[in-house]
């Protein structure tokens, strides 16, 4: 079955969502992210949704779940690149995604993660395999 690829970028995970996700794919992604954080000791997760033209309540909850689960595992999540039309629609739908940090693009998202890395314990570095 197809899966959303998860790339490793140093202490962080980079996930680019480009397809119209159906439920199984979304559940698989949640599983994969938590697994990878555990395997690689990642300290941050960056989810790029700049290609997503639709974010409904299901996808919204998925993002919130990933953020919450990653936090429990000691990793920060940043969602980047939300399209204006999507943001306007989500707000109208009543979803404000509390607990999910956001940034304009991958670059600012990485900056955010590096800054939060500086304030975390640095345990993640020790745990990660080269």
């Amino acid at each position: 079955m197809e899966r959303i690829p998860i790339l490793r970028m140093g202490p962080f995970l980079l996930i680019t969502i480009q397809v119209d996700m159906h439920d199984k794919l979304a559940m698989q992604l949640q599983d994969d992210v938590t697994q990878r954080i555990s395997d690689w000791g990642s300290a941050g997760v960056l989810i790029d949704i700049s290609s997503l033209e639709i974010v409904d309540s299901f996808i919204g909850r998925m993002l919130a779940n990933i953020a919450a689960m990653s936090r429990v595992l000691g990793a920060e999540t940043v969602v980047v690149g939300m399209q204006p039309a999507v943001a306007i629609t989500l707000v109208e739908l009543g979803m404000s995604l509390p607990g999910v940090r956001t940034a304009l693009n991958v670059e600012s998202g990485m900056e955010l993660l590096y800054r939060s890395l500086g304030t975390s314990l640095g345990v993640a570095h020790d745990r990660s395999e080269a």
Binding site: M82, A87, I88, V91, T102, L104, N105
Partner: protein, 297 residues
């Protein structure tokens, strides 16, 4: 087929040419529509009316038998509204059909007064209804034009200004209703993406009242910006507004608010790692904005 249908179908061409003559005598507006176009419209409409009158349910104007006539009337009325005809012009176009049809009825049924009256009556009811359809469509078309102009006006009156790299200002002048909020949100968010701005200062000095609804609209805008990764600061909060907000119990705890735009700007600069330094002893001269010294991470 009803008597009316018979009479129209047997005298179609005659009725149509009398109709044209009658219109030429009253209002033709040849400046707005060519004669050829007029001939075509009248021929098509008369055919559609005949179709409706001879359909299985001639009195059911919302039924399928009249759908062609309705569509045509709507098209005619809408295009005339856009061309600049007055609503009376368009209604007259339909109503002037009465004269030729009535005189034809009188000629054909002169021997039978009751039948003549009934047929004239059904004809007048029919044409009045059709004329009303044109009036309704005319109004609907004008309203569409008005609402489009309102939209354009709204877009023009919410400029998004770049104060500095990554810092936008959005001065709102006038009331903030839900329609305007949509326009404001779209403008703001698109500019955020286009300029890669992390901060947006929403100045409400020009917003006369802030009640729970307006506050909701503002919060929507702020939340949408935040979802995209930009932070909003509200400025221009007047003393009365501050009081209203507290009295109404509006919750702005996640939002930074400042009384003055200048304060909001200074805050945005600071948050984006910049500071303003005066480079000469003379006041108000040569002030420069420099990035704050990067702390070693």
């Amino acid at each position: 087929m009803s008597k009316l249908g018979e009479i129209i179908s047997q005298n179609e061409e005659h009725i149509r040419s009398e109709w044209m003559k009658h219109m030429a005598a009253s209002v033709q507006r040849s400046d707005l529509m060519s004669n050829v176009e007029l001939q075509e419209q009248s021929r098509a409409l008369l055919k559609a009316i005949l179709h409706g009158v001879s359909s299985s349910q001639p009195d059911d104007f919302s039924g399928p038998g009249w759908s062609t006539a309705r569509e045509q009337l709507q098209d005619i009325s809408a295009s005339r509204a856009r061309q600049g005809f007055s609503p009376s012009d368009t209604a007259t176009f339909v109503l002037s059909l009465k004269q030729p049809i009535f005189s034809t009825i009188r000629r054909e049924l002169s021997g039978n007064q009751n039948e003549m009256f009934d047929t004239i009556w059904s004809c007048t009811v029919l044409l009045d209804k059709l004329a009303l359809i044109t009036a309704e469509t005319y109004i609907a078309t004008r309203e569409e034009i008005i609402s489009r102009q309102q939209q354009e006006l709204m877009e023009l009156s919410t400029p998004v200004v770049k104060l500095w790299d990554g810092i936008l200002a959005l001065p709102i002048i006038g009331t903030l209703d839900s329609a305007r909020t949509q326009v404001v949100m779209e403008e703001l968010l698109q500019t955020v993406v286009a300029t890669n701005s992390k901060f947006a200062i929403v100045d409400i000095t020009g917003v006369p009242t802030v009640d729970t609804l307006v506050a909701q609209h503002l919060l929507k805008t702020i939340t949408a910006a935040r979802l995209m990764g930009a932070e909003c600061i509200i400025s221009g909060v007047r003393p009365q507004i501050a009081q209203t907000i507290v009295h109404l119990g509006i919750n702005l705890e996640d939002v930074i608010t400042k009384a003055k735009l200048a304060d909001a700007f200074a805050l945005a600069l600071h948050k984006s790692g910049r500071t303003v330094v005066r480079t000469s002893s003379a006041p108000n001269v040569n002030a420069a904005v420099i990035p704050a010294v990067q702390k070693e991470g």
